[in-house]
Symmetry: C2
Subunit: 173 residues, 2 copies
């Protein structure tokens, strides 16, 4: 098989699971968003990084899932990120794959929480403040050895409670 | 399937290739070794790292290959390394796996060089100074985006030439 054909061939599904177990990341970002109901957003995202020389393999992963995008990690960065941010793609393409070909490392625990959060959001449970707080708590349980988060859990929860109190009071008046 | 059974089951071969494509490393260390023929050693090694919480997956990779060892990366380190250093294990277990289930990323180029070096050493070609220098050159072509090497290629080659000249002169006298 020529190198070109090799690049066209769809990756083996277990290969993709092995890749993500080693090098992928399932995370849920919690960040301020002034226009939203409680002032914060919960954003599930699936990512994997590679040096820009390895664009081809990221592109094959993108083709495998038929979703996601490939972008430089930052301005002037030599690193590319393949990421899936669309909740619909995560629900329809990412989650079913990792149910059928499950992660084998400790990352499977992150995926379980990730899936729980995405599925709750699909049921619109995050429209309720108590569930929103619960999902934020779950998000903060993920990737215990990852980079430190920008916001502290206590500060987010405190802000959410104040914000929901304001919403309640506004409704009453 | 219970979690225990899951851990006992042999990993899918494509999973292992995907893992190593993302998170594995094929490298050939070149380091001084005073007692050896030319004063330097060429040491092929296959490695993958994980946080110590992920001992189980490293152990399953070890079982998959039926070789290698798992050790802390350094004293007091939270990171574990699975590594295969035995040339026999590399020849009999590692190389045949990655021939049958080939790496799909740019890392396949590193593997090609790695394999070339190991196979040349199996044929004892490194006992000849010119081939030794050639293999050192190949080793330095690997992992272009990896950590910087401790020794510079030019210094190694210069030292090897001086050392082989001394050996020749000693034989003549």
């Amino acid at each position: 098989m020529s190198a070109d054909n090799q690049q066209e061939r769809l990756l083996d599904p277990w290969y993709v699971t092995g890749w993500f177990d080693g090098e992928g990341c399932f995370s849920v970002s919690v960040h301020p968003h002034p226009g939203s109901k409680y002032g914060w957003l919960i954003d599930p995202v699936v990512q994997t990084y590679q040096h820009k020389d390895s664009f081809i393999i990221l592109n094959r992963i993108k083709k495998f899932f038929s979703c996601g995008s490939i972008r430089p990690k930052g301005e002037n960065s030599n690193v590319l990120t393949f990421s899936v941010e669309s909740r619909r793609s995560i629900k329809e393409k990412i989650i079913p794959h990792f149910i059928q070909y499950p992660l084998q490392s400790r990352k499977a625990e992150d995926f379980l929480l990730f899936r729980k959060i995405v599925e709750a959001m699909e049921r619109k449970e995050h429209h309720d403040i108590d569930m929103f707080v619960h999902l934020v708590n779950l998000a903060f349980c993920m990737n215990p050895h990852g980079k430190n988060r920008k916001y502290r859990l206590n500060d987010v929860i405190k802000d959410l409670k104040e914000s929901s109190e304001t919403t309640r009071q506004t409704r009453r008046t």
